[in-house]
């Protein structure tokens, strides 16, 4: 499981002054909250692998966990079957929700891939974000190396958050 030191290490890597923890999924620096998503390395690998397997179409899946920490991932089918649009297959969404609930977790976010553009949310991604408490992970496959970024979408605005990949 991700530890407190993972967050602190990410902070130190930025050569920043020490921060105080606000709650388990954010840090506070200079009086401002910074949202953090912690992803274990093996789950990060599964997310990226699912995106690569989905090429040339967009891929998607659901994140389960608690307090900003991903504990399980549920790859889903893209019901839109498109290289530009994704829709989480409704039954995959239902099964993921049930599986997370049975494991004592909650669905805390979704990932999808961008096959031809950077890992930045589109206006449609922002407008259709289903839950202001969720983490929205985008994996760009437009370059040789996959790039994974995460965002929070609240009141129609997306803000990038830090992603900590833990051992």
């Amino acid at each position: 499981m991700p530890t407190r030191s993972a967050r602190d290490q990410a902070v130190q890597d930025r050569s920043a002054p020490p921060v105080r923890r606000a709650h388990s999924c954010s840090l506070v620096r200079n009086g401002s909250f910074i949202s953090v998503l912690i992803v274990p390395r093996d789950l990060w690998d599964r997310i990226v692998a699912h995106c690569l397997d989905g090429l040339p179409l967009e891929a998607c899946g659901l994140l389960a966990g608690r307090d900003g920490e991903v504990c399980e991932v549920y790859p889903a089918a893209n019901a839109a079957r498109s290289a530009r649009v994704y829709t989480v297959e409704p039954r995959d969404l239902l099964h993921a929700d049930r599986a997370a609930d049975a494991a004592g977790l909650s669905l805390i976010g979704v990932w999808h891939s961008h096959t031809h553009s950077p890992a930045y949310p589109s206006p449609t991604d922002v407008a259709q974000a289903p839950d202001p408490d969720w983490h929205y992970v985008i994996v760009s496959l437009s370059d040789l190396e996959p790039v994974l970024r995460s965002y929070r979408v609240v009141a129609g605005a997306a803000e990038e958050e830090a992603v900590v990949v833990s051992a």
Binding site: R14, S15, A16, R29, N30, S32, I34, E58, C60, L62, A80, A83, R84, V85, Y86, T87, V88, P90, R91, L93, L94, D97, L107, V110, H112, H114, T115, H116, S117, P118, Y120, P121, S122, P123, T124, D125, V126, Q128, A129, P130, D131, P132, D133, W134, Y151, A157, A158, E159, E160, E161, A162
Partner: protein
């Protein structure tokens, strides 16, 4: 019949309201919606369009079956059935990237 609300919320498209489980009344999905709206009036815009149709961004299941294939609002619901409501999860990529609708992490905060 057991109605289970799962992660959906407000108008204009379903958003997070929270998870709730309760007993509902009715023999069709439409009856279930009417019963929910009577008890929770704020749910109405999340469930139905102004024309009275099921919101297209809403997924509704009777047990494991998507009601889109069972007659939507006219899908039958039995006494031992569970109705689950969930928002659609979807998005689209923009080619090329023309507008910035996000705040990047690196420039949003002062690190000094």
């Amino acid at each position: 019949m057991r109605a289970r609300r799962s992660t959906f919320a407000e108008h204009p498209a379903p958003r997070r309201l929270g998870r709730g489980v309760g007993q509902g009344r009715g023999t069709t999905v439409r009856d279930v919606f009417d019963d929910l709206v009577r008890r929770y009036p704020g749910l109405a815009p999340s469930l139905l369009t102004p024309e009275g149709e099921m919101h297209r961004h809403l997924n509704v299941f009777v047990n494991d079956d998507d009601v889109r294939y069972l007659g939507k609002l006219e899908a039958k619901v039995g006494d031992d059935d569970t109705v689950t409501l969930m928002p659609a999860v979807a998005g689209a990529e923009t080619w090329p990237v023309t507008t910035a609708c996000w705040t990047p992490l690196a420039t949003r905060r002062s690190w000094t």
